[in-house]
């Protein structure tokens, strides 16, 4: 849809930006596709991520300087791996933002050691991100398996023509218009284009003229900076405001460092209540076609909600209402394939309702099993964590005892501890004691075989215990009994 139009729009930008890096193609449509329009074969060269792009483009992908090289190496290393659909997907978590703020790059090297680096860079990038880009950032975020941060896409924004809005350090939404737009099939191009340009024009004008929007910056709460040891991934608070007037969204933000003063990267997580609020606002404004994002935003009065969230959501909403078959993802495509599917006649004997029932049954089954599985997984991890704690404590105690004058008890303590540790094959290093870890590794191999049969039943028991008894202390005691 828009993609076709877009392609021409940013073809020129692309050429300007393209440099000597190996042409890594990104299937733009694939980036955009979330819900069903066929993947078009066209692809655009990805903008290189080297530093030298900076001066050229305000919206370079990657601001890491020293890391650039590494990332490139990393990238090229991974290139062959991920090219499933023919796309090169550097898995380096390239920041979704764009920035030419060199301050950030000076900060980043320090954090290189941390696992949170990519996220830092992401958020930092977005801080400096002209608000124009943020919604597209979200777009790229969504289909992240490709390198979505193709700056060429960013040039959609008429903003670049009107001047980059630097005013808002607006939150970045994980929602994106590109995705929602892509749902529309090509024959809807015009219609969508209209809507699209409407939104763009009216809102960008509003944004430029109206200061109030800038005020409605997300007062997003983001967690305190993570320690550098954390494998920080985004943490979401899933709670959302209920009635509009209560106003609070706890949007998600990346667990990023204090370096990002303003909104980092609030990923918006919608809820039915919030959506209800949205629909009410839209209806008040006269329907989904008439309503403007700005108007809706104002009406909703939800703290933390940005116009970008609203805009992309509105786009999805419009699509869902006026082309429900499109937003239904696969349905349309499947229907057109009906001729080719040989299994078509399998269901002739079965009444449609029956067929639907059958399908429902299977789906219900899967759902149920998934629920059970998920609960189990949660509990297992919980228990594992607890055991780990206990193990660490024991380790400490042993350490103390080791250093204690009375060495008689040593062997039995260590051995009992080690039998415990064999069950936790995953963390031989947990204790900081080199002796222990050595022994652990040895006994691990022996104990592994010996212990396995023991572990299994106890595992089952534990799983049952987990589901039955709420008290983990009881569990622990039981485990101790079995293993000591």
């Amino acid at each position: 849809m828009q993609v076709n139009g877009l392609r021409t729009m940013y073809a020129w930008k692309e050429m300007e930006a393209h440099s000597a890096l190996p042409a890594r193609k990104v299937n733009v449509e694939q980036l955009c596709t979330s819900g069903g329009s066929g993947v078009v074969s066209s692809s655009l060269p990805v903008l290189p991520t080297t530093v030298e792009e900076f001066p050229k483009l305000p919206d370079s992908q990657n601001i890491l300087t020293g890391k650039q090289i590494r990332s490139d190496q990393l990238t090229s290393h991974y290139t062959p791996f991920v090219a499933d659909s023919g796309n090169v997907q550097p898995l380096y978590p390239s920041p979704s933002g764009f920035s030419s703020d060199l301050d950030i790059s000076s900060i980043l090297p320090q954090e290189r050691h941390t696992n949170s680096t990519p996220l830092v860079s992401q958020s930092l990038n977005e801080v400096c991100l002209p608000s124009a880009y943020s919604s597209y950032t979200g777009a790229f975020q969504v289909s992240t398996s490709n390198i979505p941060k193709d700056p060429t896409e960013v040039t959609w924004c008429p903003d670049s023509d009107q001047g980059i809005l630097n005013c808002s350090d607006d939150g970045i939404t994980g929602n994106n218009q590109i995705q929602s737009n892509s749902i529309v099939m090509s024959d809807d191009l015009n219609k969508q284009n209209e809507w699209w340009s409407e939104i763009m024009n009216e809102d960008w004008e509003e944004l430029l003229n109206d200061k109030t929007v800038a005020e409605s910056q997300p007062k997003v709460v983001y967690p305190a900076a993570q320690s550098s040891q954390n494998m920080s991934v985004h943490q979401l608070q899933t709670h959302q405001s209920v009635p509009c007037h209560s106003g609070e969204i706890s949007a998600v933000t990346g667990p990023l460092s204090t370096a990002t003063a303003a909104a980092t990267k609030p990923r918006m997580r919608w809820t039915p209540e919030l959506h209800e609020c949205f629909v009410n606002a839209v209806n008040q404004l006269g329907g989904s076609e008439k309503a403007t994002p700005k108007g809706v935003l104002k009406l909703m009065k939800v703290e933390g909600l940005t116009i970008y969230h609203v805009k992309s959501h509105l786009q999805k909403y419009r699509t869902a209402r006026y082309r429900p078959d499109l937003s239904e993802g696969m349905s349309e495509k499947k229907i057109t394939q009906s001729q080719e599917i040989p299994s078509l006649d399998l269901k002739t004997g079965i009444d449609l309702t029956e067929a639907l029932r059958l399908q429902m049954e299977v789906q219900k089954q899967l759902h149920e099993q998934l629920e059970i599985q998920r609960n189990l997984q949660l509990r297992i991890e919980e228990q594992g964590k607890y055991l780990q704690m206990m193990f660490d404590k024991q380790c400490k105690t042993t350490m103390d005892k080791l250093h204690a004058p009375s060495t008689v008890e040593e062997p039995s303590n260590i051995s009992s501890e080690l039998t415990q540790s064999t069950a936790k094959i995953e963390f031989p290093d947990a204790g900081s004691n080199p002796i222990d870890s050595n022994k652990t590794q040895i006994t691990e191999q022996i104990g592994n075989k010996r212990k396995m049969p023991d572990v299994e039943p106890s595992n089952h028991k534990d799983v049952d215990a987990v589901t039955d008894s709420p008290s983990s202390a009881a569990k622990c005691a039981r485990v101790d009994d079995e293993e000591a």
């Binding site: 978590p93 289909s143 494998m231 959506h275 696969m330 040989p342 899967l366 998920r374």
Partner: protein, 248 residues
């Protein structure tokens, strides 16, 4: 069958737009293999973690996006149902009854597919989680490091794994279906649109079946059964319909 193969099969069977959103298990495994067992340096670990983070970002973004779509669609479906239910009384002339029946039929199909897609999203979440857990275990095993536990804890809190909302919507959907699907409406009018509807369901249905089978396989006892493994899956006897042979 090994997880990698299972995952691959699952991906193949999945809805086309989803295919590149799954875990890049194979690639991560390669990376782990390349990691030196003797001295896992922090640089390599950092890279590994970065890769994992990127994957997680991918999941999150996709998941939240889909979730949003589902929220919108759910409401629209509910509206449609309300409208159709209301029309029930006013229908008098033949055409509007026909229309009514057609719309009902469409709604039913849509709801069932909607339900299916949501469940598949849950499955998406689950299988990616499993893959992550496995790869972390491999990494720890290979390098002797303790990456798994803290990392998994973070994963548990990620949006893509916190599927409560989707789960709730699924249940809601099931309740709605009860209202909408007639008990024993051996269809006359239903026969008409059957052809194209069958085609439409194929994808979701097949995907669902594939997911169930994957789960079953993954949960069978394995050689590496350990402390963190799930017990084997016990599915009640599924009366799987004839399309199954096609899947195999």
């Amino acid at each position: 069958m090994k997880f990698g193969k299972r995952l691959k099969k699952q991906v193949e069977e999945s809805l086309p737009e989803w295919r590149d959103k799954f875990l890049s298990y194979k690639d991560l495994k390669k990376l782990v293999r390349l990691t030196s067992a003797a001295q896992p340096c922090s640089r390599v670990e950092a890279e590994f973690v970065q890769m994992l983070n990127a994957e997680i970002d991918k999941f999150n973004a996709f998941f939240v996006e889909q979730e949003e779509d589902f929220i919108i669609r759910q409401r629209e479906l509910q509206e449609r149902i309300k409208r159709v239910m209301e029309d029930d009384g006013t229908g008098g002339s033949q055409p509007s009854e026909m229309e009514h029946a057609k719309e009902m039929s469409r709604i039913r199909k849509d709801i069932v597919n909607f339900h299916g897609e949501m469940v598949l999203l849950e499955n998406y979440s689950s299988i990616n989680y499993t893959g992550l857990a496995k790869i972390l275990k491999k990494y720890d095993k290979r390098t002797g490091r303790v990456l798994r536990l803290p990392f998994i804890e973070k994963v548990l809190k990620q949006p893509f794994f916190t599927t409560d909302l989707v789960s709730e919507m699924v249940k809601e959907c099931e309740r709605t279906i009860e209202l909408v699907l007639p008990v024993a409406d051996r269809g006359q009018s239903e026969q008409g649109g059957k052809g194209e509807l069958v085609a439409a369901e194929q994808s979701v249905f097949r995907n669902t079946i594939a997911a169930l089978m994957t789960m079953q396989e993954l949960r069978k006892g394995s050689s590496t059964y350990g402390h963190f493994s799930l017990p084997p899956l016990s599915l009640p006897d599924l009366q799987l319909p004839s399309p199954i042979p096609i899947l195999q």
